[in-house]
Symmetry: C2
Subunit: 422 residues, 2 copies
C-alpha cells in the first residue's frame, strides 16, 4: 500500500473549520487507497500568541523553555485534527515529536533533525488503518529535551518522515498554487513552475522564497524524496520538486528572486594579506553571523577593499565584530549600506549555457539599474542593487528571460557549451 | 538538604504577573536552604479555552486526543514559570509528565498514577541547584500515550512527586487560607482548621469540598506525606493534613460539609430477596455509576423499599439502568427527587464519642428540616434533606457543634465511650 505524507501549514489549519477541510482532504487521499501521514503546524496566530507571552518575561527568550512553550502550538493542532478525523469516521492517532522519536541536536529553536527513530510505531498505526497526525516543527534531543526546528520547520518534519518511512510522495500544502517564476505580487505575468530541481529550489529558498524551508529541500534531495507543493484550497496540480533531468537543463533560467533582507558592509584599505580575510570572516563566523556575497579587490595603492552582505537582523552585532578587528587588519574604516536588495536568477540550465550573466547585466543596465556587487554559483547569478530598483529589476529580468505565461527561457542565449562561460 | 514540593493552582498562575509572584515565592523557599519542586496547573481559563475548542468538534470529546490537547495547558505554565525563575536569577528546568515518567493507567481524562519513574533525573537537576518546574495533571501510560488525571489532578501530581522524592513537605497553594470548618460563603463564623486527619479530609473531599482532590489525599495518607494547604497570596500558616493523633480525637466534629451534586432515587415494593439488591446495584455498577447513600427497609406488606443517591450528572443514565431491571426485581415503580442536598458532619473524634448522631438529628429537627435518608461511617454522618434547607442546615450544625471562631466542639457531647454509639 502506498504512503503519502501531507503537510498543512498554519493558515491551512487556522480555524476549526479549516481543520475540518484538512481532515476531509486527508480522507479523500485515504479513500483513494493510500496510507496517510499528515503533518500539521500550529494554528495561524497561535505561535505569535506564545511568543508574545515569552517576550513579556524576557526579550531574548530563546532557549530550552522557549521550545517547550512553542511546541504546544503543534500539540493543539494534532489533537484537534485527529479529533476531526475520528468525528468524520476515519480512525486517527496523533504523534508528538518525542513520540515519533524525531531525534535532533540540542540547538534550541533551530535544531536539526538527526534521525527519526519511531518509525516502527508509526508504521504499526498505519497498518491498523489509522491516519497518523504528526506534530510538525518539534523534536527531542538525546537527553529527552523538547526542541523546535525554527520557522518553517514543519516542512522539514514532513520530508524527514517521508524519508524515514520511504513514502511515495511528500505533499506540502500552502496557500499558493506552487512555486512561481517570480513573486506574483511584483510580476503580474509570473507563471507557476510545473517542475523544479532541488538545487534550484535550494537557491530560491536561500534567496528569499518562503515556500519551503531550505533544510527541508536539502533533506529531500539527500533522501530522494519528491516534494509536491500544492494549494490547500484548490485542486491544481502544484509544483514538483525533484532531481534534475535533461528536460530541465533546457531551461536556462527557472526563476527570478529578490531579497531585501541583507545589508552591505564595505571595509576599505585593509592589509593585502590572506590573513586579512581569515581574521575578518573568522571573527564573523565565530559570532554566528552568516556572510553571503563576498567581493574582494585590490585597489590602486595595493590595499585590499572588501565588501560583503549579512542578514539585516545581524546588522548591529556584525558592525561591532567588524570594528573589533579593524586594527588587526589595518583597515581604514567601514561603511554600511542598509538600502540594498539582492536580485538573482536561478536555473540548472546555466551550467551549459553561456552568456546568461552578460545578458543579465545588460538588461539591468538598459533599465538604468546600477550593480554594486556580483556573486555567482553554478546555477545562480546574484547582483546587489539599490533597494529602490528591486521591483523594476525583477520585472525586467522576468521579461527578458521570457519566464512569463507561455514562455520558456530558451531563446536569445547560445546553447550547448560544455562548461559555463559567464 | 531538605526538599519541599510546592503546588500552585490555575488562579495562582493565572497571569504573567501572578507567575512572577509564584517564582518569587519559590525563590524565597530556595533561599531558606531548601530544594524546591514546583508543580503548576494550567493558567486559569486556559483549560476552558481548550475544552471549548474540542467541544466544537464533538460534544463527547473525551479520549486519547482530548488528553493530548489538555496537556498543553500545563506545558505552557511550566515553560513560563521556568522562564520567570531564570529571568530572576534562579536556574530552573521544566519537566513534563512524560519527562518525569509519571506512569499512569490508560484511563484517559481520569488516569491514576501508578508510579513516578523519572526521580533520578529530577534529583540530578535538584543537585545542580536548579528548581524543578513540574507539569501537574499529566502523565504517560505504558505505551507512551499522554494521559491526564482529571480536574484537580495537579494536587495528586504534587503528592506523588513528594512521595517518590521523599520530600519533607508538600505545600498546596490555593486562593483560600486553608481548610475551613464550613464553607465561609455560607457560614460567616467558619474557622480555618489548623490540623486535620487524612481520613477527615478524605470524607470532606468526597462530600464536596474542592480544596484537595480525593486521590491526592489517599496517596498522601498511604505514603505518609504531610500536606500543607496554604494561601498563595498571604503568609498565613494554612492547614496541615496529616495522620490523626490523640489531640485530634478530642475534637468530635471537625467540619460541616454540604453537597448539592446528588439526586435521590426511590424504588418501591421490590421483591423481598437479597437477589433484588444484587441485581439493582450490580446493574448500576456495571454502568459505572457510583451509588452513594443506600437505605433499605421492609414496608408493611413485606415488600422492600430501596432508596439511594447518585451523582446528578448520571441522572438520565441511571434512570435507564434502573428501569431496565424493574421487571427482574418485581418493583412497582421509581421516583426521582432532584431537589435534594446532603449535609454531613465529619470528625475522627466520633469514634469515641456517643450521641453525635442523636444531636445532629435533634438540631435539624429543631430547625424544621426534614431528614429523608441517613448514612453513617466511622467518622461521618450524612443526612439527605431538601435542597432549600442546605444553607440553614450548614449554619445550625456549625453553631450547635461550636465549630466557629474560638470554639472547639467538645461540649455537650458525652465523651470517652470505647465504642461509638450513635
Amino acid at each position: 500500500m502506498s504512503l503519502i505524507v501531507q503537510k498543512f501549514g498554519g493558515t491551512s489549519v487556522g480555524s476549526l473549520e479549516r481543520m475540518k477541510h484538512v481532515a476531509e482532504r486527508v480522507m479523500k487521499t485515504k479513500e483513494q487507497g493510500h496510507n496517510v501521514v499528515v503533518v500539521v503546524s500550529a494554528m495561524a496566530g497561535e505561535t505569535n500568541r506564545l511568543v508574545s507571552l515569552a517576550k513579556q518575561i524576557q526579550e531574548n527568550c530563546e532557549g530550552r523553555e522557549y521550545d517547550v512553550l512553542l511546541a504546544t502550538g503543534e500539540q493543539i493542532s494534532v489533537a484537534l485534527v485527529a479529533m476531526w478525523l475520528k468525528k468524520l469516521g476515519q480512525p486517527a492517532c496523533s504523534f508528538l515529536g518525542h513520540q515519533m522519536r524525531i531525534l535532533t541536536d540540542s540547538a534550541f529553536s533551530k535544531a536539526r533533525i538527526l534521525s527519526v527513530e519511531g518509525h516502527d510505531s508509526i508504521k504499526a498505526t498505519l497498518r491498523r488503518g489509522e491516519v497518523v497526525v504528526a506534530a510538525g516543527f518539534q523534536g527531542v534531543d538525546v537527553h529527552g529535551n523538547i526542541t523546535t526546528l525554527g520557522r518553517g520547520g514543519s516542512d522539514t518534519t514532513a520530508v524527514a518522515l517521508a524519508a524515514a518511512l520511504k513514502a511515495d510522495a511528500c505533499e506540502i500544502y500552502t496557500d499558493v498554487d506552487g512555486v512561481y517564476t517570480a513573486d506574483p505580487n511584483i510580476v503580474a505575468t509570473a507563471r507557476k513552475i510545473d517542475r523544479i530541481a532541488y538545487e534550484e529550489m535550494l537557491e530560491l529558498a536561500s534567496l528569499g522564497s518562503k515556500v519551503l524551508q531550505i533544510r527541508s529541500v536539502e533533506l529531500a534531495a539527500n533522501h530522494h524524496v519528491p516534494i509536491w507543493v500544492k494549494n490547500t484550497f484548490t485542486d491544481n496540480p502544484g509544483t514538483l520538486v525533484c532531481h534534475e533531468d535533461h528536460e530541465m537543463e533546457r531551461v536556462v533560467v527557472r526563476g527570478v528572486s529578490c531579497s531585501r533582507d541583507d545589508v552591505l558592509f564595505s571595509v576599505r584599505r585593509c592589509n593585502n594579506q590572506t590573513a586579512t580575510v581569515v581574521k575578518l570572516f573568522g571573527a564573523l563566523a565565530k559570532a554566528n553571523i552568516v556572510v553571503d556575497v563576498i567581493v574582494q579587490n585590490v585597489a590602486l595603492g595595493g590595499h585590499l577593499d572588501l565588501s560583503f552582505t549579512v542578514p539585516k537582523d545581524d546588522l548591529s552585532h556584525a558592525r561591532e565584530v567588524v570594528k573589533s578587528v579593524l586594527p588587526a587588519i589595518g583597515a581604514e574604516g567601514i561603511t554600511v549600506n542598509n538600502d540594498m536588495a539582492k536580485i538573482s536568477i536561478v536555473g540548472v540550465g546555466m551550467r551549459s549555457h553561456a552568456g546568461v550573466a552578460a545578458k543579465m547585466f545588460a538588461v539591468l543596465e538598459a533599465a538604468g539599474i546600477s550593480i554594486h556587487l556580483i556573486s555567482t554559483s553554478e546555477i545562480k547569478i546574484s547582483c546587489v542593487i539599490d533597494r529602490k530598483h528591486a521591483e523594476l529589476a525583477t520585472r525586467v529580468l522576468h521579461d527578458a528571460f521570457e519566464l512569463g505565461q507561455g514562455g520558456l527561457s530558451k531563446a536569445r542565449v547560445k546553447t550547448s557549451e560544455p562548461r559555463p562561460k559567464r
